[in-house]
Amino acid sequence: MPLSQLSFDYPCANTLRLKLSGEWLIRAVLPSENEVLTQLAGNKNITRITFDASEITKWDSGLVSFLLNLIREGGRRNVIIERQGLPLGVVKLLELALKVDEKNIPRKIEPEGLLERVADKLLAFCSGALAVVNFLGEITFAFGRLIAGKAYFRRDEFAAIVQRCGAGALGLVSLISILVGMILAFIGAIQLKLFGAQIYIADIVGIAMVRVMGAVMTGIIMSGRTGASFAAELGLMQVNEEVDAFKTLGISPVEFLVMPRVLALIIMMPLLTIYADFMGIAGGFLISVNFLGLNPVEYWHHTQSAVKLSHVWIGLTHGLVFGIIVAVAGCLRGINCERSAEGVGAATTSAVVSAITSIVVATAVITFICQVLGV
């Protein structure tokens, strides 16, 4: 296959002629326009470039791209590029490529000075924070209407959401909670065995699961499972203009779409937390009795005496708070989703990340408050 070749001659003092020959195909190695620029740099008298393309056997957009770069560079250096010697198809493609009228590109409304730019960023951050507060306000308002019996949403859809984020999550919550209970038992055994106090594994597993771990693990599972699902569902509705259709009918998307989801998790998260507590205790029990040789009755009695009602309330508080966090993060990201496939992906990821981060922060805050209050 004859390769693309580029050679030069000077028909007159101010003119550089480019002789193009061979196959100028995108899949081959093509000459660079830098070779031409080197010629221009070496001869400052050149104000015109012409072409002899009579020996080109095949060409595609590789040639057009080469010429386009050359034309743009020529424009910058005030060198006239004459296209007459080029194949007709190439000339038409170049006209098309050069037709992009920069006047038609929308002008961005942006501040010019440094101070304005900083202020713009600050305002963007504030408006983002305000949007979150506004969203929380709208949810609160929707719950107010629910309490007043004025909220409008579909009961059957609410029941389906409750079923999806409650019973539908039992399998995963069981697996993770049993495993966490087992892990706590094994870790407790490493240290307590040194003192012959393995029976206190029951206390560690019971208190840890009921007070915090059951709720935290359930919250993390629900972030990945339900929070992501809320964000994707609402995000796709945003993309398909379904959310706009609610707004133009005067129906609040927060009341119709968000409030039932938040309510569903407010109801189901504490219940799932209690379930996770039992599963975790069962996991610890299995390991302690079968692998660490503890008496099952004694283990059960120790668990009963260690786990106080205050631990249960603290665990339920964690569960309730995490439920609100997961639902709000998922719905907020979904409702504010950009109208593209990428936007739905980003909203889903953001919902999971912000929910898990908020859960960890909320755990720290609740633990600190409990410490201060002495419970």
Binding site: I109, E242, D244
Partner: protein
């Protein structure tokens, strides 16, 4: 006696942006009661952004939109919500709520904003579906019907409350020529039957000439209106090469290649 037709919509000095980009400025036009009004223009000229401003989904940078004399964007949220209930909107994708059946999609606005009983709502749903040629499809979900049928079902929902103004966003987009023609005929029939004012945002020439009483042509370069009038008059009488080029698909004056 003043025979001047009454304006259903009046737009004054409207500036619009999309994200941080200014797309249109100083728009002025009015839509007469009962007219089919076309907003046309090439891709990216700001047609859909203008529609969003007209239907209350996006606030303009400045300017006024008046509905029967009421300055929409200067009013309180509650007044705007009331006005929005007098609109019907057919979105480009149909925007049917995917977890609802077609019947439930149409019934929802009736349940919310009418005093009809459940039986009357069912009858009304069947009527609206029949008006768009989808009688008997009330129990189908949007995912179970074709794109053209989804558009018609979206139209049935848009006319659920017998709105005074119906907005259409690219109604013929993605439809085969026959379905597009049927939808155009349906738009005229509904206008005649309901007496509604209709605003259509489109660049489909066949639809523009088939249904338009009056049109404005938006231009991305000048960021404004470059022609206003009856589509056929614009084609016959306009001296502006941009208008002729748009209305003849570039076949006259200045086709690029």
């Amino acid at each position: 006696m003043d025979n001047k037709p009454q304006s259903a919509i009046e737009v004054r000095g409207l500036d619009l942006s999309y994200d941080d980009y200014e797309v249109l400025r100083n728009l002025n036009f009015s839509v007469n009661q009962g007219d089919i009004f076309i907003v046309m223009g090439g891709s990216g000229c700001g047609k859909s952004t203008l529609l969003k401003v007209l239907i209350g989904l996006k606030e303009p940078l400045k300017g006024e939109v008046l509905y029967s004399g009421v300055n929409f964007w200067a009013e309180d949220e509650s007044v705007r919500q009331d006005l929005m209930r007098s609109f019907g909107v057919l979105y480009q994708s149909g925007a049917l709520w995917s977890s609802f059946t077609l019947g439930e999609n149409i019934a929802l606005p009736l349940q919310l904003y009418s005093e009809l009983s459940s039986a009357q709502i069912r009858e009304m749903v069947e009527l609206k579906l029949s008006l768009v040629g989808l009688g008997g499809y009330a129990d189908f979900y949007p995912g179970q019907i074709s794109g053209g049928m989804r558009k018609r079902a979206g139209l049935a929902r848009a006319i659920a409350l017998d709105p005074g103004i119906i907005f259409f966003d690219e109604p013929s987009a993605g439809l085969d020529p026959l379905s597009a023609r049927l939808l155009d005929d349906l738009i005229i029939q509904l206008r005649d039957a309901l007496g509604a004012t209709i605003v259509i945002v489109t660049h489909e020439l066949a639809s523009i000439f088939a249904v338009g009483d009056k049109a404005v042509l938006l231009d991305a370069e000048s960021k404004g209106i470059i022609a206003e009038g009856k589509p056929k008059d614009l084609l016959a009488g306009s001296k502006d090469p941009r208008v002729i080029q748009f209305l003849t698909r570039g076949e006259k004056q200045g086709a690029a290649l």
